[in-house]
Each structure stands twice: as structure tokens, then as C-alpha cells.
Amino acid sequence: MGNMKLTLKIWRQAGPSAKGAMVDYPVTDISEDMSFLEMLDVLNDKLVREGQEPVAFDHDCREGICGACSLFIDGRPHGPSRHITTCQLHMRKFKDGDVIHVEPWRSGSFPIIKDLVVDRGAFDRIQAAGGFVSVNTNGNLVDANAMPIPKPESDKAFDAAACIGCGACVAACPNSSAMLFVAAKVSQYALLPQGRPEAKERALNMVEQMDKEGFGNCSNIGACEIECPKDISLENIARLNREYLGASVAKE
């Protein structure tokens, strides 16, 4: 056991339409080797023992690949470090005696379910609107290596595909815009030959769904790129702007 003492200011909200508030929780015996989520586990363990309602927060893989963990920590998505998720954030980033604010992602398009858990279904609906390639899977699959793709292109497609759909871009954006996410999802297909046949439809449909979900517009502020755990580049947003412009002009 470690010996850090901290004061957490955590957003508590009993349900989707309940009124929420920031509540103070002192925590003790925190080791600097704990992840932020493990530190919350310690708090919840204590709350349960005391017969109080534990703090609801999202998590799954706890190794930075699923995108489930969220949390606006100390004024920034996923806390102070760059290129990591909250499960990869360690308490050594904080000092004994720190006061740490912990809030859910704030966006009208990500309604709060409980405490720190938000509904990111909007991302699923955007993905369903075009984030796929239609391939015939009934027995006549083409060998993946049959189609040569230049290394620089495949690297860029893979960089875009690294997006884990965590929503930090939306949380960071002053406009609550989902452009970085949508740009990554459009780009990962637009850069590969398999994605080209449906490229126009994809850009138009995914942006339409993005607008319908009520996300804000992109002002090229760039906060998303800084806070993205997977370092998704703003180049992807420019690519989406090109894809959409081309698709709008060319679509019959």
C-alpha cells in the first residue's frame, strides 16, 4: 500500500434525468503505482464497505485498447499525460495532497447514464451509417494479400484505424465536435482500394449521421489531436473535408 492522500471531486448523478453535483471524496493509502482506475477501485471498495453507492465509471480492457474508460480528469480527457487512456494513467502523475476533479465526458450527444458513465451510442450509429466495406462472405473471399497496397498508404490507413472510439476528441473539443473520430473512420477505408467503391456514400452518410446526433462543427482548434490517446492526426480531418467535398460535387 502506498501513502498518497488525495481529495477527489467527482460528478455524482443517480440517473439520466437526475440532477448531478460535484461531491468531495478523500482517499488515503494510494500507491503511485496504481492506475487511475485502480485508485477509483480503492474508493469504491471503501464506499461499498460503508454502505454507500459506489461511483459508476466505464472500463473494460484496462490496457489501452478498448476505449471504454473515459473520464475528464483534472481538467483534461484521460488526465494530464498525452497518448494514453485513463486505464494507462498512473497515480505517480499526481502529488500527495492533490485535489483532482473527475467528470464525465460533457456533450449533448453523449447523455449521462450514471455518475461518470455516458452513452456513446452516437458513435455506433455513425459507424453503422458507413464505417464498413461491403464484402461477399459466402464462400468466395479474396485473399487479403492478392491486392498490393503501397506501404505508405497502408501505414496511414492503419494509423487512422488505431482510433478506439473513446470519445476523448469530443470531450476535449470546445465545440463538442466528433470530426476527429469520423475523419479517422472515413480515412481508414478511403486510403485503401477496398474502401474506394463506397467512399462517396460513406463520407456523405457518416457526416449526415454526425450532424443528426447533434455534435458541434469543427473549428480546427486542434484540442482533439492533442488529447487523442491514439494520436490520430488532423490530416484525417482535412482528408474527410476533401472526401466530402468531392462526394458532394460528384454524387449523381
Binding site: P80, G108, P174, G216, S248
Partner: protein, 229 residues
């Protein structure tokens, strides 16, 4: 409201924003260039010649209408974007460190634009409404050494008021911040982002944002201090 295409959608609004923004930037080049003629220090003769050309040439007068339409589109589109962007986050964070991931002026384009708009209302009143639409405004200023209508003298008169000079300098200051983000942003909005050219665009944008507002601001200051006569 359209759901796809070049009108009404989130991306379309940004294309129009970028196109009108770049159009306004090209206008600023012409405007600054012509006004800089006052620095010939020839009692405004060169400046008045150009001002007369701009005020009477049919092509320029037609472009003036396009300019107003472009400005109105930029303002209306910008305010619509601003409103939507505010509405997209109904509950704000209790504690947020915005400066850790972005610049304040990139986040303040709506406020900076509104300040520019307020300045433009004052500015248009001084030099456009009064000279073009209020008969007799120019009479007290007579003619210059070359016998031309003396817009230069009107300018000198307007900028003899220190309060007005301050308002103009503040207007230029807002324009500086607006352009520092806007110039680069317009390229990104139109999809023009390439490793090979990003450095050049950033440099050009910063240079433009500094030079043009500085040049504009120097005019009322120079006239107030009597550096140009």
C-alpha cells in the same frame, strides 16, 4: 435543412466560411495596399487618385456588392456555427484546462469576429455611409493639390479624435487574432493539409496576420500624430 451536400450541413458551413474568409483576406490586401498610399506624404494626392478610381470604376463597384454579400454570408454562417457549437455542450465542465490543448484565440473566433463586426459598423459609418450616402459630407474638405475630391482630408479629420484612433487600433488587434487562427484554418477546412506545404501556410498565415493589421493600425496612429500630411 439539407442533410447532405454543399448547403446546410456542418461541413458545407465550413466550406463557405473558409471561402468567404479567403475572399475577405484578398480584399484586405487591396484595401491595405490602396490606403498605404497615404504614406507617400504628398498631401493625399496619390491616395485620392486611387480612392476616386475605387469609388467610380464599374467593376470595382460591382465587386463592392459581392464583397458585402461575402461579408454577410461570413457573418451569418459564423454566428450560426457559433450558436450550434455552444448548444452542442449544454452542461459545461466544472473544471477544464483548455490551455493545455489549444490556443485561446482559436477558441474565440466568434467573439473576435463579433468585435471585428462592431468595428466595421463604426468604420463603414465613417467612410462609406457618410461619403456615399450623405450628401454634402465631402464639401468642407474641398479639393487636394491636384484638384481631386479630398478623402485624405476627411481621414485626417476623423483620426484627429484620439478615441476613434483607439477604436481603430483595437479593431486591428481583433483582426490580428482572428487571422492568426483563421488563415491556416481556412486551408484545413478546404482539405488543404499536406506535410510539404503546412509549414509555408503557417508561416504565410502568421506573416499576413501580423503585417496587414499592423499596416492598417499604423494609418490612424500616423495621421493622429501628424506623421503623414
Amino acid at each position: 435543412m439539407a442533410q447532405q451536400g454543399l448547403f446546410g450541413t456542418s461541413l458545407a458551413k465550413k466550406y463557405w466560411m473558409a471561402l468567404t474568409g479567403i475572399f475577405l483576406i484578398t480584399f484586405l490586401v487591396v484595401h491595405a495596399g490602396i490606403n498605404a498610399m497615404i504614406f507617400f506624404n504628398d498631401g493625399g494626392v496619390t491616395f485620392n487618385t486611387w480612392a476616386h478610381f475605387m469609388g467610380t470604376n464599374l467593376i470595382i463597384r460591382t465587386m463592392e456588392i459581392v464583397l458585402f454579400l461575402g461579408l454577410i454570408l461570413h457573418v451569418v454562417d459564423g454566428l450560426m456555427l457559433w450558436k450550434q457549437n455552444r448548444a452542442a455542450r449544454p452542461t459545461d465542465y466544472a473544471f477544464a484546462k483548455h490551455n493545455a490543448n489549444s490556443k485561446w484565440y482559436s477558441r474565440s473566433m466568434g467573439i473576435l469576429g463579433t468585435l471585428i463586426l462592431l468595428f466595421l459598423i463604426v468604420h463603414l459609418w465613417h467612410f462609406w455611409v457618410k461619403t456615399r450616402h450623405i450628401a454634402g459630407t465631402m464639401e468642407p474638405y474641398g479639393v487636394d493639390a491636384a484638384g481631386q475630391e479630398n478623402l485624405f482630408a476627411l481621414m485626417a479629420d476623423v483620426f484627429s479624435n484620439p478615441l476613434i484612433v483607439v477604436v481603430y487600433v483595437l479593431g486591428c488587434f481583433s483582426l490580428f487574432w482572428h487571422l492568426l487562427h483563421g488563415f491556416r484554418s481556412a486551408f484545413q477546412s478546404l482539405g488543404l493539409n499536406h506535410k510539404k506545404y503546412n509549414g509555408a501556410i503557417a508561416f504565410l498565415g502568421a506573416a499576413f496576420a501580423i503585417i496587414v493589421p499592423l499596416l492598417f493600425a499604423s494609418m490612424p496612429v500616423a495621421m493622429y500624430l501628424g506623421w503623414v500630411k
